[in-house]
Symmetry: D2
Subunit: 364 residues, 4 copies
């Protein structure tokens, strides 16, 4: 084990990330040291980089594949009860506390002591707590999930991106049922995840509404039956009209909002059929109040639900699905690979929408 | 059977209703002639009376208790399979067709040929199709439900008002669970129904937000644990703040919007706890787009659902609950009784919010 | 339209079916006359033929594809609201009454006046009420579903066989979720439907337990990831053990019983994981009490559910899924085609398990 | 704090429990020392006492009310996020680990490292790990729940007995809905809990089947609308028949098995209506295979589910319901109070069915 390793550090809004050297820590009982193999640059990271209120310094990187470099005493199995050993490829997260209000009454993903890697500022002294680094240090009793040998790291990483959160949201809404028609608003990584989940669930028709054209081409390659280009239908009313032409004038059984567009929520309400489902995963940015007609929810007797993240359970099944159930080449959504040193270029490519999903390879 | 009978006829927006004479029809096979015992004047009726686009002439009255006066050949049992005979007190509705898109895929309550009594204009020649009349003619194969002997007509009527629709909405949201905290927005007939359903479902704390004070007093008599008077908290932010003081700062497990207020939907989103349920029955009036923050649905991982009406199933169980399960004197919500001739006075009392629920007694 | 047509008539248990001539009726308002294109010989038919108590004479055939030959006045659209016309290929059933106990409280599929074609004895005078005939007469207001042009009649028929009932059962159990492991007990037509539904729902691993070997080969062609041949594991304990080796010793997320075997129910309880789901569609034959350990349901906190048939909704979505969602050549499960005259040979081939699914082509 | 305290120790099957002296431990960070106020003697304890395979020595007592005597550093709030301090009355349990197979995929109640107080043998050196003692030592990060001031310790204890497990089971089955008919099989503590939950959920009619007569009288006092005495109907067929007379020949909407009787499961299947729910909490004892007809599950399209215990969430809401929602004097089900020294007399009174629920008061 080396004494030190490199990490890319966020130094403040819109400033270049810096490559810094950190000590590689001793591994205490129950903890795990991971070598990062691949870390995705996510929209969340780029939003934070633009956000004037984002705390720093910080090591970003919350969607990662790592290799177990060292295990503290007592770590013996992953979340499926399978033995783990040094050299295993794994997904990981912290563990919810199990005894607070959120763990008990609400959802463990809101647990306040749930260690979130890549989403929190550096402590003092700093701990390797994000994926944009050669190593990450998992505090005692982490949640680990071994990647099956027949699943490439790219597909394993894709199980985390877009897919696990949309899976969670769709299931909270009661699921997409075999033979249903689905509209996905948005053609970014989350929209692609929603598309993949809809196809996996046996939807008979999936329409993706998005832009630009090359992303819609990619959507077709990922199984979209039909697409609507926002450039062709720049007005919300026209988009709704076009979608109803494609899915039938009674509306879609399920609409998934994965765009975060300001008019998207109201558009989606107009695309769902009477008593249909509206699953919202794309309103993560808080714009404050927007024009929405709540009377539609009553008059059409809709279900509306959303979630902000996944659960450990959906993470597991999302990974399981990558072995054979997913029939599309979802790994192609990872369009750019960078060494750790080029982290700022990776951010630029994401920000400019040149890349669908850029990843860092901190250990080459 | 008399040859003719009286009905109150809506003659156009804001015009006095007229008492007119109609022929009592022959009863064809499968049809039923009912003598109306009690008919509620509902907010829907008063809204229609104000609505410049409401079609007329029409016999209103969609919440009724009737007595079977004559049964066509082939009518033998009610919706629970119990035999019916002349003289039985019943609730009734039309029957959904069973083979259209709405009956099959969506919800039967949207079935286009589902006969809705008291909600459609008179045909030519007119048929007695509303409850503000001495008799109503139920077209072949109506949906009938016998009122148990131990349930007064007032309580039976209350099973239809506020209760059956909120029951349907709550159940679509997955139910209120024993020991949960519930906020009801609104203290009119629908809010009282929501309150009653929350108490029936074992809620540990029910807070009613409404006005004026005498309606909140009535809410307390109907089981409300706490109330918030809008007169004391005229601003939405203050109401939200007050509710969080009462239910705990993490928010209520379930919030039910039963007011139809323009700011109510957004207020309700702010009152629900993380991953809680928001049940909307009060946004029946379409004001068009209102300021709403959809980011809350995602960030708080909420369920939001609404319905516009009940199903035959919830109607049955709402009536069943009136025998012994409902512990509160809900019949006291019927505050005014009128002979058919005083229909215009009943409308006035409702419009002026003097009456909580006025009823007509067309046969005295 | 011809004046008469042929039908195969069941003349009593284990007696050869007879080809008889029937008058082709006048079509009354709301009714539809269909020319039968393809009718499946189902296990239910063969069971009835063996059953000493089966009423006769009767025209069997409850899984059929027909072509609209003549429409009574007022028939204008199918269950999805799409216009229908003479010459259209359709699926069909009767329509539940909409106002009885079963339609209201329980499930419409138990409605006592729900016309079931191919499942009831002939009336006097006889009406063409089953699919083993050149024509079938649909009584007023039937439930119709147009077959999309891109779906072959074989695939449309397959949507009815095994698939729609297992879809209904799985959905009642809360669905199979993406990435779950599924065991199917049985490799006949119902087992193949369960397999297809599991793959459609995104299962990550589907194990089929059945026999003989050629059926298991067919299961693999239909997407089964692994199979267990009963001939190799004749004892229940050994089968359970083998399944746990394949799905992991904690058991499968979902087990579907589609075999009807006498020991199958108890075996299945032992194959499900703690808090997993057991979906039963194969215990249609009533053997009376069998050895079952109900303590497993409690100790493992299982969900167990079953259904005997589909709903109109699942029939629609099962057909929709046949356009593009089903990736496997399910039409190959129709292994034998016969003219109407060879109905007895079709029964023999089914009874001898030579055929997976034999069909009749009454009009050649 | 005293240096030592007393506990009742199980010394082996059918041997008298012994009062022994144990050292009161130092409280490490995160841990809590509780003074036991009241501990119920449960059927599980008496079964263990009879069980030739039960491990010993052990301190029983898994349903307890305690008072915080000393808190380790870092313990600040209960499961609802409310501050706790010395002197507070609390319910408690261990905390599931949050990262194993059961916590992630199945149910946390099956977590193997979930500390279960009163259900495990003594370690060496012994730790005070059961409620039949003056003090119990809660290992770091316990799950705590403060008892509201307006809830007596008796009612708080009752929230744990029968109620929380039946609540969990009923909710897993989709809930009892307002206005439904419910049959409870069994009139012991679990049956009384099921009765209470049914009434809390708004059931319109609850029938309790049990014995002896004094327990059925108590059931009536707890809200049972009707009862069936097994002494009057000793044969399963007669009991089924009697229940159908009381609930209507179509069967009950929901049946809850809370008796553990050998014939009870099959009886219950026969009492449920078509497509109704069967909730099993009473088959805890494993008798091995019993005569059961699984064809009923399919033919009647039933839901069947069971659970072996509660979740933290149902424990919280069960306690919340005791403030005002529960209208019946459930504390009267605690029929006998004993000092710790009389633990053997408490076991005898339970075993002889003299006591409904006996409790120990280890600190007088």
């Amino acid at each position: 084990m080396p004494n030190t390793c490199k990490a890319a550090v966020f130094m403040g809004p819109q400033k270049p990330l810096e490559i810094q050297e950190f000590p590689v820590p001793e591994v205490e009982p129950g903890a795990v040291l991971l070598q990062i193999q691949m870390a995705a640059v996510c929209g969340t990271d780029v939003h934070a980089w633009h956000n004037p209120d984002a705390p720093f310094p910080a090591i970003f990187g919350h969607e990662n594949i790592g290799i177990i470099a060292q295990m503290g005493r007592g770590v013996i199995s992953d979340a499926l009860g399978r033995p783990v050993k040094e050299g295993d490829r794994v997904l990981f997260s912290g563990t919810p506390c199990g005894h607070c209000y959120y763990c008990t009454i609400s959802m463990p993903l809101f647990c306040e002591t749930y260690g979130k890697y890549g989403l929190e500022p550096l402590s003092d002294p700093p701990v390797l707590n994000g994926g944009f680094a050669q190593y990450v240090y998992l505090k005692p009793t982490p949640w680990l999930l071994r990647v099956p040998d027949d699943v490439s790291s790219e597909r394993a990483l894709m199980s985390l991106i877009g897919n696990q959160t949309t899976m969670n949201a769709i299931e909270r809404a009661g699921g997409i049922r075999v033979g249903e028609t689905v509209v996905v608003q948005g053609s970014g990584p989350v929209g692609m995840g929603a598309l993949n989940q809809a196809k996996l669930s046996g939807a008979s028709l999936v329409v993706v509404v998005g832009a630009p054209a090359n992303r819609l081409d990619l959507a077709k390659e990922m199984g979209a039956d039909l697409t609507v280009d926002i450039a062709d239908f720049p007005e919300p009313e026209a988009r709704v009209q076009r979608v109803l032409e494609l899915v039938g004038d009674k509306g879609a059984d399920v609409v998934i909002e994965a765009s975060g567009g300001k008019t998207a929520f109201q558009e989606g309400l107009e695309m769902v059929r009477m008593s249909g489902k509206y699953v919202v995963v794309g309103q993560y940015t808080d714009y404050g109040p927007l024009p929405v007609n709540p009377a539609l929810i009553v008059r059409k007797s809709l279900y509306v639900t959303g979630v902000v993240a996944s659960t450990p359970q959906t993470a597991i099944r999302s990974l399981e699905s990558m072995s054979t159930a997913v029939k599309y080449p979802v790994e192609k959504l990872i369009t750019h690979h960078y060494p750790l040193e080029d982290v700022n270029e990776a951010f630029r490519a994401h920000d400019a929408m040149e890349a669908m999903i850029p990843v860092l390879l901190p250990n080459g």
